[in-house]
């Protein structure tokens, strides 16, 4: 029984470690911020979940299992929020390779950014000639 549990735990840990290596490879090889973020979030959800399952099997005792479950829940809650913020700032600051985009729902570049479309500082249009354009 313990041998079977160890095999399952090591399989989960190996899968999580392979996802970590995949994230590193994707970070180095991919061309712009959005695709690098796509690669970098692989271990943030699935990798951390697999590693936590493996560690919870190896560390017996409910206290450790609850704390590892807390880590997994934090990752599941916080990964979409940070990814949303980073990708929005990347789009606003033109750090996106627009020739690689298949669908660009914000329209052609330069039209949407000149309007004030949000309540965050990152949504503000850039100044022109040192004057903040007034939202119409």
């Amino acid at each position: 029984m313990t041998a079977l549990a160890d095999v399952v735990a090591f399989a989960c840990l190996l899968a999580g470690a392979v996802l970590c290596l995949t994230a590193g490879l994707g970070l180095v090889r991919f061309p712009d911020v959005l695709s690098r973020m796509h690669a970098g979030t692989k271990p943030q959800v699935l990798g951390v979940l697999l590693v936590m399952v493996g560690a919870a099997i190896r560390l017996d005792g409910w206290a450790n299992a609850w704390m590892l479950l807390l880590v997994a829940a934090f990752q599941l809650l916080t990964a979409p929020v940070s990814a949303h913020l980073i990708s929005r700032v990347a789009y606003r600051r033109r750090h996106v390779r627009r020739d690689l985009l298949l669908v660009d729902e914000f329209g052609p570049a330069g039209h949407q950014d000149l309007r004030y479309r949000g309540d965050e500082p990152g949504d503000a249009p850039p100044e022109e000639d040192g004057v903040l354009p007034q939202p119409s």
Binding site: L14, L21, L27, S82
Partner: protein
């Protein structure tokens, strides 16, 4: 056992090294934010693997702290860069007031 443990450490260490490469080379500040986020997640995975291999639950509370720190760091830096947009004087999003490391280089298509 030793083969599996060394393989696990090699995979996680390779991922961390590649994330460090992107952290050093990344042309813009946002690439470095993404690389830092991924690096902290890989560090948390390495701590969990160490705890699982040694059957040592001492490092488990550190995991909670590391996972929360990754979130707070990336969100605060992303909002800081968003605030920098207010000071941008050029219309095409290339900011004059930013340090050189924050600018994206000209990419050759």
């Amino acid at each position: 056992m030793t083969i599996v443990s060394s393989l696990l450490y090699a995979l996680i260490g390779g991922g961390a090294l590649l994330a460090l490469v992107r952290l050093a080379r990344g042309p813009s500040l946002l690439d470095r934010v993404v690389a830092t986020d991924t690096l902290l997640v890989i560090i948390a995975a390495g701590l969990a693997v160490h705890a699982a291999l040694q059957r040592d639950p001492t490092l488990v509370p550190v995991l909670v702290v590391v996972s929360l720190l990754a979130f707070v760091g990336s969100v605060s830096v992303a909002r800081y860069i968003g605030g920098m947009l207010l000071r941008s004087r050029t219309g095409d999003g290339s900011d004059l007031g930013l340090p050189v490391a924050a600018e994206v280089r000209e990419e050759q298509p």
